[in-house]
Amino acid sequence: MTSPASSPEIQVPKAGSWPVFGWFTLAFMVFAQWYAITTSPADRDMGDLQKILYVHVPASWIMSITFALVFVYSLLYLWKGKDSYDLLAASSAEVGATFVGLTLVQGMIWGKPTWGVWWTWDARLTSTLVLFLVFVGYLALRAFIDEPQRRGQWSAAVGVLGAINVPIVWMSVRWWRTLHQMQSTPQTMEPVYRNGLLINFLAFTLLAVYLIRRRYEAAMTARAAELALQAAALGGG
């Protein structure tokens, strides 16, 4: 039998010890949160509200990772054309969009009691929102295209261009803000908070890796099932 033109070989990824990894990640996250919350003193201005920091900042950190992943996998897909890269990029984007969404919501929940408004046109907030919208565009495109090959090619192009735009958005929004008056931004970190934050960075990174991996497994399994169908169709009567 000749090999398919688009995907020479599809390796059905095994769940392997990933579920164990998942449980470990969960346990580690609980520990990290507990550690961070108990070791940090109540903030001078914000009181215990400050504890949102430990979900908020790591969540925003995940955003950067996932955007980088979308960029890398999209390029790889355009170059090699392997389905797995497309699905990895898509999985990263989904996880990324979720975390950016979380960052936004947490930030707004945090902002209301701290700043008195849900939203302010601060540089960091605004650029986060714009990047979120770029992610939304990427996912909307995927939703609107049925043909897998076309979906892969197009979303890869959108993913690469979107990622190129990230630093430019960042810069432009900051200039836009700072050229006028500066809004009250969160004060810089004190060491007491730092350890709790670092350990949560690690926990969230593990979580992102886990989620992307499982999402990817699901997508690949679906793809592989289709290919099995192909084998049946070509081989049988």
Binding site: A140, L141, F144, I145, W154, A157, L161, I164, W175
Partner: protein, 233 residues
Amino acid sequence: MTRVRSQGGDHWRRIRAIAWKDLTTERRSKAGFNAVVSLGITILVLFGFALGPDAQALRDAAPGALWLAVLFAGVLAFNRSYQVELDTGALEPLLLYPGARWTIFTGKLLANMLFVGLLLVIVVVAGMVLFAVKVPEAWPTVIAVLALGTIGLVTLGTFYASMASRSRAREVLLPLLLFPMLVPVLLAAMQASKALIGADLMLEAGAWIKMLIAYDIIFVLATHLAFEHVIEA
């Protein structure tokens, strides 16, 4: 088929043919350009109503309103540029011509550049009248800013339209993909215009202009490289 071809000449021929065809069909569809221009001005007027009767507030918002009007009106042109291929199934024959595919993109880019450039000129003049903005002293720089902004807008718009127009939700998908990507270009163009109109520090405008140039170069290159993958799929 033994045919001696000069690669460069061939490319240029194709680019010209595409641009000519797009502009001709656009011109023939009578109301095309006039309608887009009228729409741009209509949007300006709507902004005028929305921002209330305060003259100073209007003047302050003018660069933003101008660019948004061009953006909203221009978006329509991009989809039209592929619509003409899709309405009658002409995209397939187009893809069947042998030769480099990026020339299709360049041709459409040129046509759209002319279209949106003209639109911009008219909307800007109308906007200056409506919002009582004076001709700034640094007007050559303002023109450069406008040109740079147009390049960024048209490049990304033409590129994304090549996908959006072939999807199920063309009208929605194009702005949805395009607008967030254009935030830097909009901000740069608006801020540069603002700085220049307000006879502000040239320094400030300078930084924005540099950014616009970088943005334009990056995206013109990236879209040309990516187009082949996109149009084929």
